[in-house]
Amino acid sequence: MVYRKVEMAEIGSAKGPTGEHRIILRYADEPDYTPDIDCYLRHGGYEQLRKALSMDPAAIVAEVKASGLRGRGGAGFPTGTKWGFIDHAKNRKPVYLLCNADESEPGTFKDRQIIYKDPHQLLEGMIISSYANHAHLAYIYIRGEMVRGAQILERALAEARAKNLLGANILGSGYDLDIFVFRGAGAYICGEETGLIESLEGKRAYPRIKPPYFPAVLGLYLCPTIVNNVETLCNVKHIVEMGGEAYAKIGTRNNTGTRIWCVSGDVRRPGYFEYDGGAITLGKLLYEVCGGIRDGNRLKAVIPGGSSAKVLRAGETYRIRRANSEGTMEEIEMTLEDLPLDFDTIAASGSMSGSGGIIVMDETRDMVECLNNLSAFYAHESCGQCTPCREGALWMHKILDRMAEGEGRPEDPQLLLDLSGQIAGRTICAFGEACSWPVESFVAKFREEFEAKAAQERKEHERLQPAC
């Protein structure tokens, strides 16, 4: 799928034609599309489940491996490989499948669209995935704030049960499965898969150390467990439909299938957009699809993959090593605007595409304030289990807060860098990286701004965070 230049007149809103290739969100925003099962069935719903139930579970896993599908929750781990970790020939324990619907990475709002508008697509993907992994009990861990979303899913589950798409002997296949909804309660760390498991076991969401607690080995109730993101599970349905090989032709090598990108912050038309992997550049997305920077301002910075991703500064160029069409490696120079949106190029630019949450900041924004806003988030959300993260996240926030207050000290920018460097890699889970990468990148890339702020005399100025 080649990116089609979008005519400005075509772009009405996030829902309008934006040159997207919608697979996951194909129906979600159609005016007559409703979240009930009748509507889903009218649109070919649960046909892939019928097909999957006639297949050998191992054959489904093979298709998912062939598809090259990578997890859409943030880490981009190959889904087929994750599924392959469970050796069903040897395993004697029950297997559980968990859908990670804890969508709480700041800047991300894609799973919400699926859950609220097309819940049966998620259920179909989950039932197929559970069947492929020999799971007979599955849970959807949805963030607590999505009360309506949980209600929509409960209703969808009841509808599916009533039609024998769930429960005992699904569609006469002899396969049994039940799925329940579990609501979180406002803790970001529950999006970390082992934290999610602890939370589902009725405990504080303290992530588990790996090894030995790889979910595929010692997951929920210390049994083999598959944890997949909402968008990932939906993709499984489409892989069954088109076959792994055909799916792998969408997008680019190692960045197969479509991805939903969420744009927020200082653009004229924020929203969510689904494109083939690598099919659109950051520049086209921001300037053509999203209508450019608001108020005619200039771009200053972009966080490309949720708040934990390292910030990219406008005007930067990157030397990207990548395979060309002949399959040989080449190194090319790219501007921020040139970066194709995929897993690998964004990673090569020194950041990550993470959860697909793109946050845009324009030239009027104070980088110290913006980073302070994020550091408050991480200080609040650290689970408190590991000392470097619990103390470090709070300490970084305190330093940033005093800088934002005009009480910074000249040594503060360097202190922030020193601190952030002592958290990443020294914690049980990836939260250590998540809280230190923004600090490291903001301070390094906007050093002059941080130094100026640190030297600034205390004065009244507009703040993102009111002193309350």
Binding site: A14, P94, E103, S104, E105, P106, G107, T108, F109, D111, R112, L137, R143, G144, E145, M146, V147, R148, F180, F182, R183, G184, A185, G186, A187, Y188, S199, L200, E201, G202, K203, R204, A205, Y221, C262, V263, S264, G265, D266, P270, G271, Y272, S307, G357, I359, M361, R365, C370, N373, L374, A376, F377, H380, E381, C383, R463, L464, Q465, P466, C468
Partner: protein
């Protein structure tokens, strides 16, 4: 955090038969471990009674054959669980970056002013003296594309402004007036 200075309120709630029936239904969703029902039951309690009390912790602990500390450790960990009643109308405004860029902090200040939510109830929540209104910041609500995001009870509001707040207040006053007529 619930510290010594902020213990759980004792609570005098009396869960009825329907509440218990729903609780049992929730427990059945966790056939492997009853403890998994701890957080769902705390949600169930808070939805029914508005906040988690000492009575809640003891009732749920007994129901699940757990120690009260197993519930208390959840109450002190999960931000959505409340140990004090919120206002009858509780505004939850997103604090995090995309919403902040769209003016959520200004909105927060204006709601506080409009509702007279001046006294701190801990956890960053402000309540009006009569207990009718409260406002609190919450972290990213996953609605960044239509910022600022706000929640009032179970309802989610996108692109929220002070006009949205006025409409919510007017609607609640209208329904309260109707209740009064019906009762009268």
């Amino acid at each position: 955090m619930v510290g010594p200075e902020q213990p759980l309120l004792p609570g005098t709630e009396a869960p009825g038969a329907e509440f218990e029936r729903k609780a049992d239904e929730i427990i059945r969703q966790y056939p492997v471990s009853r403890r998994s029902a701890a957080l769902p039951l705390l949600h169930h309690w808070q939805q029914e009674f508005g906040f988690v009390s000492q009575r809640a912790v003891e009732w749920i602990a007994e129901k699940l054959a757990l120690k009260p500390i197993h519930l208390l450790e959840l109450v002190t960990f999960y931000p959505m669980l409340r140990v004090r009643p919120a206002g009858k109308i509780n505004f939850r405004v997103c604090r995090t970056l995309s919403c902040a860029l769209a003016g959520s902090h200004d909105l927060f200040a204006r709601i506080r002013e409009r509702c007279g939510a001046t006294s701190s109830a801990g956890h960053g929540m402000y309540v009006s003296p009569d207990g009718a209104y409260s406002v609190e910041f919450v972290e990213c609500l996953a609605a960044c594309g239509s910022a600022p995001a706000m929640m009032v009870e179970e309802e989610e509001f996108e692109r929220a402004t002070i006009d949205t707040v006025e409409r919510i207040l007017a609607k609640s006053q209208a329904s309260r007036a109707t209740d009064g007529v019906q009762k009268g």
